[in-house]
Symmetry: C2
Subunit: 448 residues, 2 copies
Amino acid sequence: MSQRSKQFHLNAFLMGVGHHEAAWRHPRTNADDVRSVGHFAELGRIAERGKLDSVFFADGLAVGPRIKHNALATFEPVTLLTAIAGATEHIGLIATSSTTYSDPFTTARKFASLDHISGGRAGWNIVTSAGEDEAANFGLDAIPDHLGRYQRAEEFVDAAVALWDSWEDDAVVLDPDTGVFADPDKVHAIDHAGAHFRIRGPLNSPRSPQGRPLLVQAGSSESGKDFAARYAEAVFTAQRTLAQGQEFYRDLKARVTAHGRHADELKVLPGIVPFIAPTESEARELEREFTELISPDYALRQLSAILGVDLTAHSLDAPLPPLPSVHEIQGNKSRYELVKELAESDALTVRELIGLLGGGRGHRTFAGTPEQIADELQLWFEQGAADGFNIMPPYLPGGLTDFVDQVVPILQRRGLFRAEYTASTLRGHYGLAHPSSQFAASRARNSA
Amino acid sequence: MSQRSKQFHLNAFLMGVGHHEAAWRHPRTNADDVRSVGHFAELGRIAERGKLDSVFFADGLAVGPRIKHNALATFEPVTLLTAIAGATEHIGLIATSSTTYSDPFTTARKFASLDHISGGRAGWNIVTSAGEDEAANFGLDAIPDHLGRYQRAEEFVDAAVALWDSWEDDAVVLDPDTGVFADPDKVHAIDHAGAHFRIRGPLNSPRSPQGRPLLVQAGSSESGKDFAARYAEAVFTAQRTLAQGQEFYRDLKARVTAHGRHADELKVLPGIVPFIAPTESEARELEREFTELISPDYALRQLSAILGVDLTAHSLDAPLPPLPSVHEIQGNKSRYELVKELAESDALTVRELIGLLGGGRGHRTFAGTPEQIADELQLWFEQGAADGFNIMPPYLPGGLTDFVDQVVPILQRRGLFRAEYTASTLRGHYGLAHPSSQFAASRARNSA
Ligand SMILES: Cc1cc2nc3c(=O)[nH]c(=O)nc-3n(C[C@H](O)[C@H](O)[C@H](O)COP(=O)(O)O)c2cc1C
Ligand SMILES: Cc1cc2nc3c(=O)[nH]c(=O)nc-3n(C[C@H](O)[C@H](O)[C@H](O)COP(=O)(O)O)c2cc1C
């Protein structure tokens, strides 16, 4: 068992009873689990048994046109992860929260609270909400334009970071004898005034164990990559081939260093949907079982939303109609390009495309033995396409259990993945330092 | 042990290591508990051992001028109650959330999530945020005016209720064979368009176990009482004498029936800060110990904030300076009036007033034996001043443990309080019906 100097990171991306859109119809799942908090607590424990870095929940602020066949969002991610925090001890807890439909004070506080409650295990997947129907739940007629959303996100994160920094690490004194609870010199107004927000601060919460939650990002457009290079410490991304993964990795790391950061301060985590079985043919057969359960009606609505074209009356066995240019897409630009390229390069019919997307909505699906999956992850890691992976089990809990019990031990034997936790915080798992408060630094300078 | 037809309700209002502002300096507390989630989980278990209806957390959206001596808000209430949900089974979980600095979609969703996670135990204390310094954290130069805040609150709650109703109770079908997750005819857009909010809906969460969280309110001004009469199912209030309590009770119930509701649909819960000891003199001595630990600097800042007058340079042993009229107060009008009346009626010095307010910031303090406390609660209940009580332990966990282990058994023996839980939801504990969705009713009419 060799211990390599560089190891990789594993996040479990959890969704309902699995990422495959027909997962809840397959006998390997119990559909009712989608609304069982016990189910999610158990998933947290399974992931922790596998020594994974973190679990993650996506989020959307509308049910959209999917109600009939699949509406999995029973729980709000921060509350759900708070429940999982109580059932686990080590694993990191990453929640999605939008910068387009919330404000920095509310958001900073909610993540500080999760970080306090979990003892330093909170992470924030920063999204700008690419869905058309989310806007209508927040007083808007249409989704704000793509660039504007990212500009707001930058100001939002700057303000949130200042709020987390507003209490220095040692601001709380708690001395019953003198009656001093906190040192007012170490608690700071932030006086943020920008194009979108004016916030006096300080945050109404002392600094949390991690100082700041882990900052995660998942958009891969040009604006998305620039944003990630500046702020993100981990990036989720959908990459279908090794070459594409390498290109994305190289591009993003170059942007990180261009921002004066060290390349290691951002971890690139491509997604993979693993169908695991003792033989490759059984794994393929398992994947086929799931594909056959896809409801074309649902899949067509999903695909229509991604492509910005109404396909609901389109023949399943015809190729796609002509698609708009990426410049016309205000939603998820990178996913649009990925799907368009996939469909056009192989001249797929709609039915074929739906099958390919069913597992992970564009993320790479891989059916194989535990060894084959481990080989594939090792290859991407060693060939410069990944610092770790976003594991998206097609069905739950079985798909996660199999990964943890069958794939993780192989990775551990190869010295690629930790055998025990060596840190107690999420930042620690990802090998990142505890950030110091921006106000501590300036106070130190002033008193020098 | 007689079982009376009408029983009363008990809520534990939990705050840091106790309501008394010097609680954290007293040897009966452990100051560090203010940031320990384990402490709060234990409080939930103690309250549940006493069969209390619910626990409750207040909330403020700024630390204000209190940082040096007392800043207790480490946790955000909904996440903290989510953590307590995992440590308990029956007790209701009431969180404060502001209508002035949030929006209906976000708020409706967060309480739906808590209700799902806790199996139907969520309650919302609806506040309009009376603090001056909260506004500056949300882009405003000053607090919005009192009436305007309540008007916004009405529209806010109407929209939130519509969102909770947007999924009918039986909308989720979850049939793996047909592939139908939800019945689209039972999931409704709300199309809310008002002066403050435009929201399409439906909520991105199926209907939660209680249908809607319990709606709680805690403002006692004229606008506050009208708001409560229309929306609230439980009301927290600070009443210092039996006569004042009776007058408030009568007034509020009359407003409830004027709104076409049954008087029993709203429970009036006055606050009480009990100092409990085996003899009355020991209880008084205990209270005195706490009063002596008050930091005058802190107390003056608190009092200045309540009264809208800067007292920080005022002599402790002089009477209060002239106070503004209630019409000039844009913050907490009812608390202002209570404190003003208290100070002026007995011509108190500032020091005396600070001592009287130290226990519960205006709520009634009562020092006595368990029997005396039980007598006092029974009196208020039987004399038409209360449907139950908001128990505000001056120090924690001891003040709650003593109440649960020494006062509750007396109330149970007298048949005034339940010996076992008879319901599984918070609404059930308070004897309230499961609300039906407003959309179910109209759908039934249309198809009739
Ligand atoms: C693994 C992964 C998870 C994502 N989760 C969410 C999510 O929970 N909510 C959301 O609104 N967008 C989510 N996204 C979408 C991105 O955050 C981003 O909004 C989208 O890629 C559009 O950004 P772009 O136009 O920069 O590519 C996710 C993307 C990836 C790759
Ligand atoms: C027991 C109790 C608890 C309260 N909790 C809060 C709170 O957590 N946050 C808040 O902003 N106001 C709180 N208040 C204040 C009221 O909600 C309300 O804002 C205040 O009484 C002003 O309203 P009024 O002017 O109608 O009296 C509380 C009041 C009482 C009696």
